[in-house]
Amino acid sequence: MSRDYTRFTMSQRLQHIFMFVPFIILVLTGFPIKFPESEFWSVVMSAAGGIEKARVIHRFAAAVMILDFAFHILYLGYNLYKKRPSLADMHLVPNGRDGKNIIENMKYFLFLSDERPRFHRFSYIEKFDYWAVFWGMFIMAGSGIILWFPVLFSKFLPGIVIQIAYIAHSDEAMLALLAIIIWHFYNVHFNPRIWPANKVWYKGTLSEEEMEHEHPLELEEIKAREEASK
Protein backbone atom coordinates (compact mmCIF):
# COMPACT_ATOMS: atom_id res chain seq x y z
CA MET A 1 0.00 0.00 0.00
CA SER A 2 1.39 3.32 -1.02
CA ARG A 3 0.87 6.37 1.11
CA ASP A 4 2.27 9.92 1.45
CA TYR A 5 4.37 11.11 4.33
CA THR A 6 4.23 14.77 5.39
CA ARG A 7 7.67 16.27 5.23
CA PHE A 8 7.08 20.03 5.27
CA THR A 9 4.10 21.83 6.77
CA MET A 10 2.34 24.63 4.93
CA SER A 11 4.19 27.18 7.09
CA GLN A 12 7.56 25.62 6.26
CA ARG A 13 6.78 25.53 2.55
CA LEU A 14 5.75 29.20 2.61
CA GLN A 15 8.92 30.09 4.51
CA HIS A 16 10.94 28.45 1.74
CA ILE A 17 9.02 30.35 -0.96
CA PHE A 18 9.39 33.68 0.85
CA MET A 19 13.10 32.93 1.02
CA PHE A 20 13.77 31.95 -2.58
CA VAL A 21 11.59 34.48 -4.41
CA PRO A 22 13.41 37.44 -2.78
CA PHE A 23 16.68 35.54 -3.29
CA ILE A 24 16.15 35.46 -7.06
CA ILE A 25 15.16 39.14 -7.12
CA LEU A 26 18.17 40.07 -4.97
CA VAL A 27 20.52 38.23 -7.32
CA LEU A 28 18.99 39.87 -10.40
CA THR A 29 19.21 43.38 -8.95
CA GLY A 30 22.52 42.97 -7.11
CA PHE A 31 24.85 41.18 -9.48
CA PRO A 32 24.60 43.81 -12.25
CA ILE A 33 26.26 46.21 -9.78
CA LYS A 34 28.86 43.64 -8.73
CA PHE A 35 29.77 43.13 -12.40
CA PRO A 36 29.23 46.58 -13.97
CA GLU A 37 30.93 45.72 -17.24
CA SER A 38 29.25 42.39 -17.91
CA GLU A 39 27.02 42.31 -20.98
CA PHE A 40 24.87 39.56 -19.53
CA TRP A 41 24.12 41.47 -16.34
CA SER A 42 23.50 44.62 -18.45
CA VAL A 43 20.50 42.90 -19.99
CA VAL A 44 19.25 41.97 -16.53
CA MET A 45 19.84 45.53 -15.31
CA SER A 46 17.79 47.08 -18.11
CA ALA A 47 15.04 44.52 -17.51
CA ALA A 48 14.97 45.64 -13.88
CA GLY A 49 14.50 49.23 -15.07
CA GLY A 50 18.01 50.60 -14.55
CA ILE A 51 20.17 50.95 -11.48
CA GLU A 52 17.96 53.48 -9.68
CA LYS A 53 14.92 51.20 -9.74
CA ALA A 54 17.02 48.09 -9.13
CA ARG A 55 18.32 49.61 -5.89
CA VAL A 56 14.79 50.17 -4.64
CA ILE A 57 13.64 46.69 -5.69
CA HIS A 58 16.73 45.17 -4.06
CA ARG A 59 15.93 46.78 -0.72
CA PHE A 60 12.29 45.79 -0.88
CA ALA A 61 13.18 42.16 -1.64
CA ALA A 62 15.79 42.29 1.14
CA ALA A 63 13.15 43.46 3.61
CA VAL A 64 10.87 40.56 2.63
CA MET A 65 13.70 38.07 3.03
CA ILE A 66 14.80 39.48 6.39
CA LEU A 67 11.20 39.37 7.66
CA ASP A 68 10.95 35.78 6.48
CA PHE A 69 14.12 34.90 8.36
CA ALA A 70 12.94 36.78 11.44
CA PHE A 71 9.69 34.82 11.26
CA HIS A 72 11.70 31.62 11.02
CA ILE A 73 13.68 32.50 14.16
CA LEU A 74 10.43 33.19 16.04
CA TYR A 75 8.99 29.97 14.64
CA LEU A 76 12.03 28.05 15.90
CA GLY A 77 11.82 29.71 19.29
CA TYR A 78 8.11 29.02 19.60
CA ASN A 79 8.48 25.36 18.71
CA LEU A 80 11.46 24.89 20.99
CA TYR A 81 9.52 26.50 23.84
CA LYS A 82 6.27 24.67 23.21
CA LYS A 83 7.42 21.20 22.26
CA ARG A 84 10.66 21.08 24.29
CA PRO A 85 12.13 18.52 21.91
CA SER A 86 14.99 16.28 22.97
CA LEU A 87 18.26 16.68 21.08
CA ALA A 88 17.47 13.52 19.11
CA ASP A 89 14.21 15.07 17.94
CA MET A 90 15.93 18.19 16.64
CA HIS A 91 16.64 16.62 13.30
CA LEU A 92 18.57 19.54 11.80
CA VAL A 93 21.25 19.58 14.50
CA PRO A 94 24.42 17.95 13.14
CA ASN A 95 25.33 14.78 15.01
CA GLY A 96 27.60 11.75 14.91
CA ARG A 97 25.39 10.00 12.38
CA ASP A 98 26.29 12.66 9.80
CA GLY A 99 29.99 11.83 10.07
CA LYS A 100 29.17 8.15 9.71
CA ASN A 101 26.91 8.89 6.71
CA ILE A 102 29.61 10.96 4.99
CA ILE A 103 32.09 8.09 5.27
CA GLU A 104 29.47 5.59 4.05
CA ASN A 105 28.54 7.82 1.14
CA MET A 106 32.20 8.28 0.13
CA LYS A 107 32.64 4.49 0.15
CA TYR A 108 29.50 4.18 -1.95
CA PHE A 109 30.68 6.88 -4.41
CA LEU A 110 34.05 5.17 -4.81
CA PHE A 111 32.48 1.75 -5.39
CA LEU A 112 33.96 0.46 -2.13
CA SER A 113 30.46 -0.40 -0.97
CA ASP A 114 27.12 -0.97 -2.67
CA GLU A 115 25.11 0.22 0.34
CA ARG A 116 23.84 3.79 0.21
CA PRO A 117 23.89 5.43 3.63
CA ARG A 118 20.52 5.16 5.34
CA PHE A 119 19.50 8.75 6.06
CA HIS A 120 17.18 9.86 8.82
CA ARG A 121 14.85 12.86 8.45
CA PHE A 122 17.60 15.16 7.18
CA SER A 123 20.76 13.95 5.46
CA TYR A 124 24.05 15.77 6.03
CA ILE A 125 23.50 17.34 2.59
CA GLU A 126 20.22 18.88 3.72
CA LYS A 127 21.67 19.95 7.05
CA PHE A 128 24.49 21.69 5.18
CA ASP A 129 21.96 23.57 3.01
CA TYR A 130 19.98 24.67 6.03
CA TRP A 131 22.96 25.92 8.05
CA ALA A 132 24.59 27.52 5.01
CA VAL A 133 21.50 29.68 4.56
CA PHE A 134 21.40 30.32 8.30
CA TRP A 135 24.99 31.63 8.29
CA GLY A 136 24.47 33.39 4.96
CA MET A 137 21.46 35.28 6.26
CA PHE A 138 23.49 36.83 9.09
CA ILE A 139 26.33 37.81 6.75
CA MET A 140 24.11 39.11 3.95
CA ALA A 141 21.47 40.85 6.03
CA GLY A 142 24.03 42.25 8.49
CA SER A 143 26.33 43.65 5.81
CA GLY A 144 23.37 44.72 3.68
CA ILE A 145 21.79 46.76 6.45
CA ILE A 146 25.16 48.42 7.17
CA LEU A 147 25.48 49.35 3.47
CA TRP A 148 21.88 50.56 3.45
CA PHE A 149 22.61 53.04 6.27
CA PRO A 150 26.40 53.49 6.19
CA VAL A 151 26.43 56.91 7.81
CA LEU A 152 24.18 55.81 10.66
CA PHE A 153 26.35 52.77 11.42
CA SER A 154 29.55 54.83 11.22
CA LYS A 155 28.28 56.75 14.26
CA PHE A 156 28.94 53.81 16.55
CA LEU A 157 31.09 51.38 14.53
CA PRO A 158 34.64 51.90 13.27
CA GLY A 159 34.97 52.90 9.59
CA ILE A 160 36.61 49.58 8.68
CA VAL A 161 33.30 47.82 9.39
CA ILE A 162 31.71 49.56 6.39
CA GLN A 163 34.55 48.42 4.14
CA ILE A 164 34.27 44.87 5.49
CA ALA A 165 30.50 44.97 4.94
CA TYR A 166 31.05 46.00 1.33
CA ILE A 167 33.39 43.07 0.65
CA ALA A 168 31.38 40.59 2.72
CA HIS A 169 28.11 41.46 0.97
CA SER A 170 29.61 41.11 -2.47
CA ASP A 171 31.66 37.96 -1.82
CA GLU A 172 29.13 36.09 0.32
CA ALA A 173 26.55 36.78 -2.41
CA MET A 174 28.81 35.03 -4.88
CA LEU A 175 29.23 32.07 -2.55
CA ALA A 176 25.47 31.88 -1.95
CA LEU A 177 24.64 32.06 -5.65
CA LEU A 178 27.18 29.36 -6.53
CA ALA A 179 26.01 27.13 -3.69
CA ILE A 180 22.40 27.47 -4.81
CA ILE A 181 22.75 27.06 -8.56
CA ILE A 182 25.37 24.33 -8.39
CA TRP A 183 24.94 22.47 -5.13
CA HIS A 184 21.28 22.95 -4.24
CA PHE A 185 20.05 22.65 -7.83
CA TYR A 186 22.06 19.46 -8.30
CA ASN A 187 20.60 17.92 -5.19
CA VAL A 188 16.99 18.83 -5.92
CA HIS A 189 16.85 18.99 -9.74
CA PHE A 190 19.82 17.82 -11.76
CA ASN A 191 20.73 14.77 -9.75
CA PRO A 192 19.72 11.99 -12.15
CA ARG A 193 18.07 10.12 -9.28
CA ILE A 194 15.86 13.19 -8.65
CA TRP A 195 15.47 14.66 -12.15
CA PRO A 196 13.43 16.61 -13.22
CA ALA A 197 12.59 18.01 -9.78
CA ASN A 198 11.90 17.15 -6.20
CA LYS A 199 8.31 18.34 -5.77
CA VAL A 200 8.34 18.31 -2.00
CA TRP A 201 8.79 22.10 -1.86
CA TYR A 202 5.18 22.65 -2.91
CA LYS A 203 3.52 19.28 -2.29
CA GLY A 204 4.97 18.96 1.17
CA THR A 205 4.85 15.16 1.05
CA LEU A 206 7.05 12.29 -0.05
CA SER A 207 5.73 8.98 -1.34
CA GLU A 208 6.55 5.70 0.40
CA GLU A 209 8.99 4.94 -2.42
CA GLU A 210 10.77 8.26 -2.05
CA MET A 211 10.92 7.82 1.70
CA GLU A 212 12.44 4.38 1.32
CA HIS A 213 15.02 5.74 -1.07
CA GLU A 214 15.95 9.04 0.59
CA HIS A 215 15.02 8.67 4.27
CA PRO A 216 14.84 4.94 5.05
CA LEU A 217 15.84 5.34 8.69
CA GLU A 218 13.06 7.85 9.32
CA LEU A 219 10.54 5.60 7.57
CA GLU A 220 11.65 2.69 9.71
CA GLU A 221 11.15 4.76 12.85
CA ILE A 222 7.72 6.00 11.76
CA LYS A 223 6.60 2.44 11.09
CA ALA A 224 8.02 1.16 14.38
CA ARG A 225 6.21 3.93 16.23
CA GLU A 226 2.95 3.12 14.48
CA GLU A 227 3.42 -0.58 15.30
CA ALA A 228 3.98 0.26 18.96
CA SER A 229 0.89 2.49 19.23
CA LYS A 230 -1.41 -0.10 17.73
Partner: protein, 338 residues
Protein backbone atom coordinates in the same frame (compact mmCIF):
# COMPACT_ATOMS: atom_id res chain seq x y z
CA UNK B 1 13.66 88.04 -70.78
CA UNK B 2 13.56 84.41 -69.55
CA UNK B 3 17.33 84.31 -69.97
CA UNK B 4 17.76 87.26 -67.60
CA UNK B 5 15.57 85.63 -64.96
CA UNK B 6 17.58 82.47 -65.35
CA UNK B 7 20.84 84.36 -64.93
CA UNK B 8 19.55 86.26 -61.90
CA UNK B 9 18.25 83.19 -60.20
CA UNK B 10 21.64 81.52 -60.57
CA UNK B 11 23.26 84.55 -58.98
CA UNK B 12 20.78 84.50 -56.09
CA UNK B 13 21.26 80.79 -55.63
CA UNK B 14 25.03 81.27 -55.54
CA UNK B 15 24.72 84.03 -52.98
CA UNK B 16 22.44 81.95 -50.81
CA UNK B 17 24.79 79.02 -51.00
CA UNK B 18 27.81 81.17 -50.14
CA UNK B 19 26.04 82.71 -47.18
CA UNK B 20 24.83 79.36 -45.97
CA UNK B 21 28.24 77.80 -46.30
CA UNK B 22 30.16 80.54 -44.60
CA UNK B 23 27.64 81.45 -41.92
CA UNK B 24 28.78 79.12 -39.09
CA UNK B 25 32.41 80.14 -39.35
CA UNK B 26 31.54 83.81 -39.46
CA UNK B 27 29.98 83.97 -36.02
CA UNK B 28 32.97 85.41 -34.20
CA UNK B 29 35.18 85.93 -37.17
CA UNK B 30 34.85 89.70 -37.20
CA UNK B 31 38.34 90.02 -38.58
CA UNK B 32 37.70 87.53 -41.34
CA UNK B 33 40.54 85.19 -40.39
CA UNK B 34 38.72 82.34 -42.02
CA UNK B 35 39.08 83.95 -45.40
CA UNK B 36 42.41 82.14 -45.41
CA UNK B 37 42.14 79.74 -42.50
CA UNK B 38 39.19 77.86 -43.94
CA UNK B 39 41.46 76.66 -46.75
CA UNK B 40 42.19 72.98 -46.37
CA UNK B 41 45.75 73.21 -47.62
CA UNK B 42 46.83 76.17 -45.51
CA UNK B 43 49.87 75.16 -43.52
CA UNK B 44 53.62 75.08 -43.32
CA UNK B 45 56.31 72.47 -43.38
CA UNK B 46 59.20 72.94 -40.95
CA UNK B 47 62.11 70.61 -40.26
CA UNK B 48 61.16 70.43 -36.57
CA UNK B 49 57.37 70.07 -36.69
CA UNK B 50 56.94 68.50 -40.08
CA UNK B 51 53.67 69.38 -41.74
CA UNK B 52 51.51 71.65 -39.70
CA UNK B 53 48.01 72.57 -40.77
CA UNK B 54 46.52 75.96 -40.00
CA UNK B 55 43.11 75.05 -41.27
CA UNK B 56 40.19 75.94 -38.98
CA UNK B 57 37.20 73.97 -40.14
CA UNK B 58 33.91 75.84 -39.89
CA UNK B 59 32.32 72.74 -38.40
CA UNK B 60 34.76 72.44 -35.51
CA UNK B 61 34.96 76.16 -34.83
CA UNK B 62 31.25 76.90 -34.86
CA UNK B 63 30.58 74.08 -32.43
CA UNK B 64 33.38 74.93 -30.06
CA UNK B 65 32.97 76.57 -26.68
CA UNK B 66 34.95 79.54 -27.98
CA UNK B 67 32.91 80.16 -31.10
CA UNK B 68 31.96 83.61 -29.81
CA UNK B 69 35.53 84.63 -28.99
CA UNK B 70 37.36 86.35 -31.78
CA UNK B 71 40.58 84.66 -32.83
CA UNK B 72 42.93 87.40 -31.69
CA UNK B 73 41.55 87.40 -28.16
CA UNK B 74 43.56 84.26 -27.57
CA UNK B 75 46.12 84.48 -30.38
CA UNK B 76 47.22 87.83 -28.97
CA UNK B 77 50.52 88.37 -30.74
CA UNK B 78 49.20 87.98 -34.25
CA UNK B 79 49.04 91.64 -35.15
CA UNK B 80 50.51 91.89 -38.59
CA UNK B 81 49.93 90.27 -41.92
CA UNK B 82 51.66 88.13 -43.02
CA UNK B 83 51.92 86.67 -39.49
CA UNK B 84 55.31 86.28 -37.83
CA UNK B 85 56.91 82.84 -38.02
CA UNK B 86 57.27 82.49 -34.26
CA UNK B 87 54.13 83.11 -32.22
CA UNK B 88 53.46 82.44 -28.56
CA UNK B 89 51.23 79.56 -27.53
CA UNK B 90 47.73 80.38 -26.35
CA UNK B 91 47.48 80.98 -22.61
CA UNK B 92 44.09 80.28 -21.09
CA UNK B 93 44.45 82.74 -18.23
CA UNK B 94 44.59 85.83 -20.44
CA UNK B 95 41.55 88.09 -20.32
CA UNK B 96 39.50 88.20 -23.48
CA UNK B 97 36.93 90.64 -24.76
CA UNK B 98 33.96 88.75 -23.34
CA UNK B 99 32.79 90.34 -20.12
CA UNK B 100 31.40 88.42 -17.22
CA UNK B 101 27.65 88.71 -17.00
CA UNK B 102 26.66 91.73 -14.84
CA UNK B 103 30.30 92.83 -14.65
CA UNK B 104 32.55 95.09 -16.65
CA UNK B 105 35.77 93.18 -16.18
CA UNK B 106 37.16 91.09 -18.98
CA UNK B 107 36.54 87.40 -18.69
CA UNK B 108 39.49 85.12 -18.15
CA UNK B 109 40.31 81.69 -16.83
CA UNK B 110 42.89 83.14 -14.42
CA UNK B 111 41.11 81.78 -11.34
CA UNK B 112 41.21 78.26 -12.73
CA UNK B 113 44.75 78.66 -14.02
CA UNK B 114 45.94 79.87 -10.60
CA UNK B 115 44.33 76.90 -8.87
CA UNK B 116 45.86 74.56 -11.41
CA UNK B 117 49.30 76.15 -10.96
CA UNK B 118 49.46 75.30 -7.25
CA UNK B 119 47.75 71.92 -7.63
CA UNK B 120 49.46 68.58 -8.03
CA UNK B 121 49.08 69.10 -11.76
CA UNK B 122 50.91 72.45 -11.69
CA UNK B 123 54.55 73.22 -12.44
CA UNK B 124 56.94 71.79 -9.84
CA UNK B 125 60.37 73.36 -9.76
CA UNK B 126 61.89 70.19 -8.29
CA UNK B 127 60.82 68.19 -11.32
CA UNK B 128 62.72 67.84 -14.55
CA UNK B 129 61.34 69.47 -17.66
CA UNK B 130 60.07 66.13 -19.02
CA UNK B 131 58.37 65.31 -15.74
CA UNK B 132 56.58 68.66 -15.74
CA UNK B 133 55.68 68.12 -19.37
CA UNK B 134 54.06 64.81 -18.40
CA UNK B 135 51.49 66.59 -16.26
CA UNK B 136 48.21 67.78 -17.76
CA UNK B 137 47.90 71.45 -18.72
CA UNK B 138 44.61 73.26 -19.38
CA UNK B 139 44.34 71.95 -22.89
CA UNK B 140 44.95 68.34 -21.95
CA UNK B 141 41.62 68.14 -20.16
CA UNK B 142 39.80 70.92 -21.99
CA UNK B 143 40.60 69.78 -25.47
CA UNK B 144 38.02 70.56 -28.08
CA UNK B 145 37.10 66.96 -28.69
CA UNK B 146 36.32 66.56 -25.02
CA UNK B 147 34.50 69.79 -24.35
CA UNK B 148 32.44 70.03 -27.44
CA UNK B 149 30.47 66.86 -27.53
CA UNK B 150 26.88 68.01 -27.42
CA UNK B 151 24.80 65.68 -25.32
CA UNK B 152 21.55 67.18 -24.15
CA UNK B 153 20.63 64.23 -21.98
CA UNK B 154 24.01 64.43 -20.30
CA UNK B 155 23.53 68.11 -19.62
CA UNK B 156 20.24 67.43 -17.90
CA UNK B 157 21.38 64.48 -15.85
CA UNK B 158 24.53 66.22 -14.67
CA UNK B 159 23.24 69.57 -13.59
CA UNK B 160 23.35 68.39 -9.98
CA UNK B 161 27.12 68.28 -10.26
CA UNK B 162 27.30 72.05 -10.76
CA UNK B 163 26.29 72.68 -7.19
CA UNK B 164 29.26 70.75 -5.91
CA UNK B 165 31.80 73.32 -7.10
CA UNK B 166 29.59 76.37 -7.00
CA UNK B 167 28.16 75.98 -3.56
CA UNK B 168 30.04 79.07 -2.38
CA UNK B 169 28.71 81.15 -5.22
CA UNK B 170 25.15 80.83 -4.04
CA UNK B 171 22.17 80.41 -6.25
CA UNK B 172 23.34 83.12 -8.65
CA UNK B 173 26.57 81.23 -9.22
CA UNK B 174 24.75 78.00 -9.94
CA UNK B 175 22.38 79.70 -12.36
CA UNK B 176 25.26 81.44 -14.09
CA UNK B 177 27.19 78.25 -14.48
CA UNK B 178 24.24 76.21 -15.65
CA UNK B 179 23.19 78.88 -18.12
CA UNK B 180 26.74 79.19 -19.33
CA UNK B 181 26.99 75.46 -19.90
CA UNK B 182 23.59 75.39 -21.55
CA UNK B 183 24.58 78.31 -23.74
CA UNK B 184 27.78 76.58 -24.67
CA UNK B 185 25.92 73.33 -24.98
CA UNK B 186 28.78 71.54 -23.28
CA UNK B 187 28.83 69.31 -20.28
CA UNK B 188 30.99 66.46 -19.17
CA UNK B 189 29.28 63.27 -18.18
CA UNK B 190 30.71 61.83 -14.98
CA UNK B 191 31.83 58.77 -16.89
CA UNK B 192 33.78 61.04 -19.25
CA UNK B 193 35.48 62.71 -16.30
CA UNK B 194 36.58 59.32 -14.98
CA UNK B 195 37.75 58.34 -18.42
CA UNK B 196 39.72 61.55 -18.78
CA UNK B 197 41.46 61.21 -15.40
CA UNK B 198 42.06 57.52 -16.11
CA UNK B 199 43.80 58.35 -19.36
CA UNK B 200 46.82 59.20 -17.18
CA UNK B 201 46.09 57.74 -13.74
CA UNK B 202 45.29 54.23 -14.98
CA UNK B 203 48.50 54.21 -17.01
CA UNK B 204 50.93 52.64 -14.54
CA UNK B 205 53.92 53.22 -16.81
CA UNK B 206 53.12 56.91 -17.00
CA UNK B 207 52.28 57.36 -13.31
CA UNK B 208 55.33 55.50 -11.99
CA UNK B 209 57.47 58.63 -12.42
CA UNK B 210 55.30 60.44 -9.86
CA UNK B 211 54.98 59.69 -6.19
CA UNK B 212 51.31 58.66 -6.30
CA UNK B 213 49.11 55.70 -5.56
CA UNK B 214 49.09 53.48 -8.65
CA UNK B 215 45.82 51.72 -7.85
CA UNK B 216 43.63 54.83 -7.65
CA UNK B 217 41.60 54.07 -10.74
CA UNK B 218 41.22 50.34 -10.17
CA UNK B 219 40.38 51.13 -6.56
CA UNK B 220 37.68 53.56 -7.65
CA UNK B 221 36.28 51.01 -10.08
CA UNK B 222 35.89 48.36 -7.39
CA UNK B 223 34.24 50.82 -5.04
CA UNK B 224 30.49 51.41 -5.17
CA UNK B 225 30.87 54.84 -6.83
CA UNK B 226 32.80 53.39 -9.76
CA UNK B 227 30.49 50.44 -10.26
CA UNK B 228 27.27 52.45 -9.98
CA UNK B 229 28.59 55.09 -12.38
CA UNK B 230 29.28 52.42 -15.00
CA UNK B 231 25.67 51.32 -14.56
CA UNK B 232 24.48 54.86 -15.30
CA UNK B 233 23.93 56.26 -11.81
CA UNK B 234 25.08 59.80 -12.51
CA UNK B 235 24.76 61.28 -9.05
CA UNK B 236 27.57 59.18 -7.56
CA UNK B 237 30.87 60.95 -7.02
CA UNK B 238 33.27 61.06 -9.94
CA UNK B 239 36.97 61.96 -9.51
CA UNK B 240 36.36 65.72 -9.49
CA UNK B 241 33.66 65.64 -6.85
CA UNK B 242 36.13 64.65 -4.15
CA UNK B 243 39.45 65.74 -5.67
CA UNK B 244 38.12 69.10 -6.96
CA UNK B 245 38.25 70.25 -10.53
CA UNK B 246 41.37 72.45 -10.63
CA UNK B 247 42.81 72.52 -7.14
CA UNK B 248 43.79 68.86 -7.09
CA UNK B 249 46.08 68.57 -4.08
CA UNK B 250 47.75 65.50 -2.61
CA UNK B 251 46.23 64.07 0.57
CA UNK B 252 49.12 65.27 2.77
CA UNK B 253 48.53 68.92 1.85
CA UNK B 254 46.48 70.57 4.61
CA UNK B 255 44.52 72.51 1.96
CA UNK B 256 43.60 69.36 0.09
CA UNK B 257 39.98 68.31 -0.15
CA UNK B 258 41.12 64.77 0.71
CA UNK B 259 43.39 65.69 3.64
CA UNK B 260 42.26 63.65 6.68
CA UNK B 261 41.10 66.88 8.35
CA UNK B 262 38.99 67.93 5.38
CA UNK B 263 37.66 64.67 4.03
CA UNK B 264 34.55 64.67 6.20
CA UNK B 265 33.74 68.14 4.88
CA UNK B 266 34.30 66.90 1.31
CA UNK B 267 31.96 63.92 1.69
CA UNK B 268 29.25 66.05 3.30
CA UNK B 269 29.73 69.22 1.28
CA UNK B 270 26.36 69.07 -0.36
CA UNK B 271 22.95 67.58 -0.09
CA UNK B 272 23.40 65.22 -3.04
CA UNK B 273 26.13 63.35 -1.24
CA UNK B 274 26.51 62.15 2.33
CA UNK B 275 25.35 65.39 3.91
CA UNK B 276 25.49 63.90 7.41
CA UNK B 277 28.80 62.06 6.94
CA UNK B 278 30.67 61.32 10.14
CA UNK B 279 34.45 61.33 10.42
CA UNK B 280 34.53 57.53 10.64
CA UNK B 281 32.34 57.24 7.57
CA UNK B 282 34.60 59.60 5.63
CA UNK B 283 37.81 57.64 6.24
CA UNK B 284 36.13 54.41 5.15
CA UNK B 285 35.62 55.74 1.65
CA UNK B 286 39.20 55.16 0.52
CA UNK B 287 39.54 53.53 -2.83
CA UNK B 288 42.97 52.01 -3.02
CA UNK B 289 43.27 48.26 -3.30
CA UNK B 290 43.84 46.71 0.13
CA UNK B 291 47.31 45.32 0.78
CA UNK B 292 48.96 43.86 3.87
CA UNK B 293 50.49 47.31 4.44
CA UNK B 294 47.73 49.84 3.84
CA UNK B 295 44.74 47.86 5.10
CA UNK B 296 45.68 44.43 6.50
CA UNK B 297 42.25 43.72 8.01
CA UNK B 298 40.45 44.27 4.74
CA UNK B 299 43.15 42.38 2.86
CA UNK B 300 42.63 39.28 5.01
CA UNK B 301 38.83 39.56 4.98
CA UNK B 302 38.95 39.61 1.20
CA UNK B 303 41.30 36.63 0.99
CA UNK B 304 39.30 34.86 3.68
CA UNK B 305 36.23 35.03 1.47
CA UNK B 306 38.14 33.91 -1.61
CA UNK B 307 39.50 30.88 0.25
CA UNK B 308 36.13 30.14 1.84
CA UNK B 309 34.36 30.29 -1.52
CA UNK B 310 36.99 28.32 -3.40
CA UNK B 311 37.26 25.71 -0.64
CA UNK B 312 33.51 25.27 -0.23
CA UNK B 313 32.88 25.04 -3.95
CA UNK B 314 35.76 22.58 -4.41
CA UNK B 315 34.22 20.25 -1.80
CA UNK B 316 30.71 20.61 -3.20
CA UNK B 317 31.90 20.03 -6.76
CA UNK B 318 33.83 16.94 -5.66
CA UNK B 319 30.71 15.61 -3.96
CA UNK B 320 28.60 16.24 -7.06
CA UNK B 321 31.08 14.58 -9.40
CA UNK B 322 31.49 11.54 -7.17
CA UNK B 323 27.72 11.21 -6.82
CA UNK B 324 27.21 11.52 -10.56
CA UNK B 325 30.12 9.15 -11.20
CA UNK B 326 28.51 6.46 -9.05
CA UNK B 327 25.25 6.85 -10.97
CA UNK B 328 27.02 6.53 -14.34
CA UNK B 329 29.05 3.60 -12.99
CA UNK B 330 25.92 1.77 -11.90
CA UNK B 331 24.38 2.07 -15.37
CA UNK B 332 27.58 0.89 -16.96
CA UNK B 333 27.81 -2.14 -14.67
CA UNK B 334 24.16 -3.04 -15.17
CA UNK B 335 24.76 -3.06 -18.94
CA UNK B 336 27.80 -5.28 -18.50
CA UNK B 337 25.78 -7.74 -16.47
CA UNK B 338 23.13 -8.08 -19.18
Amino acid sequence: MPATIYRHSILVLLLVMLTALSAPAQQADAENCNLCHSLALLGIATPSDGLRSFEVTAEAYSHSTHRNVICRDCHTDINVFPHPEEVATVECYKACHITKPFALTGYSHAEQADAHAISAHGFNSEYSAEKNEAKPDCKYCHSNTFRNIIKDEVLESNSQHCARCHEGDGLAGVILHVSSHSGHRTAEASIDVVELCSSCHADQGHMKQFDVNLTQVSGYERHFHGKALKRGMNEVANCMDCHRNHLNLPADDPNSSIHPNNIQQTCSSNAYCHSDATAKFAVSAIHSEPTTQNNPILFFVEWGFIILTAGTMALLFAHIFLDFGRWVGDIWMRRKEK
